[in-house]
Amino acid sequence: MIPNPVTEESVANTPLPPQPSVVNPVGTAAPTPEVVDKPLNLGGHEFESRFILGSGRYDLNLIKATVEHAGTQIVTMALRRAQTTENSVLDYIPEGITLLPNTSGARNAEEAVRIARLAREVCHTDFVKVEIEHETKYLLPDNAETIRATEMLAKEGFVVMPYMFPDPIAARQLEEAGAAAVMPLGSLIGSNMGLRMRDFIKIIIANANVPVIIDAGIGRPSQACEAMEMGADAVMAYTAVASAGNIPLMAKAFKDAIAAGRAAYLSGLGKVTEGQAVPSSPTTGYLH
């Protein structure tokens, strides 16, 4: 006899097995575990959001919605020669957002310090993302100059957040120089290639005494999630959001992925067994 096909109706009419009364009494939903987390602490300033957002390359009118969907509290921007006809990006950033100026365009520590001081004069915050690059093909950060700039800026009272090549030794030197966080790249900036440097970032995370924020190369929410599962303290994204079809929606996707990855990290991920299955059903009482 051919068994009845499974239909929505047959599923609906199938009685549910009785609920176990002790573990989960009938009529009582299992409580949802709260994610117990500390705020992200950057130089004594605390943030609930672990998503730092670049401020654009898209329509200025989208910034507010994007920031809100991202749930972000920190937005980066760059400093350039002023054009009198240009709209100011500051007019489009919602109230209460911490501005994080970067030193892009700086080729050495002295230029980075000069840009940081000018940025502080504009926005009166002490946050600065140190970014020192020499060429435009790879835009790789110069760790040695970045360490020098970090030391100079930390002495001037800046909250220094250096963008760095993920060298664990340089990460420690940046800490010693007074960095409030380190920002290793996941892969080439703007490339959307993801967490190609994961093995070295893991070493940095394992040894860091300041927050580790993955910056550059994160191309999709799943990669941001993986970074957070690894124990990163925050993720910064820019191109991945700016180049999306629906920018505010992508911002929300990143927010959710970062929250999921953080919760997974706090939960404690299960062990990975290489080349060896672990039975998930009893291995006794077989019918043969």
């Binding site: 670049g54 200025l60 980066t76 760059a78 400093l79 002023a82 990006v89 504009v122």
Partner: protein
């Protein structure tokens, strides 16, 4: 004098504050560096430009 890398003729002595206003810059949105030193907002009115001055006027733009 030089402003943001461009040669600019200075007709008469003018302060940093007046220069910003007469050229349409939003004073509260820019930082000014004159001959390598930042001119804080409160000193723009009293700081005069001169023929050989090198001035940078900068502002924030979108960026990561």
């Amino acid at each position: 004098m030089q402003v943001n890398g461009e040669q600019v003729a200075l007709a008469e002595p003018v302060s940093v504050a007046d220069y910003l206003e007469s050229h349409g810059y939003r004073a509260e949105r820019v930082a000014v560096e004159l001959d390598g030193a930042i001119i804080p907002r409160e000193r723009r009115a009293e700081t005069m430009l001169h023929d050989q001055a090198v001035m940078e006027i900068v502002q924030f733009v979108q960026g990561g």
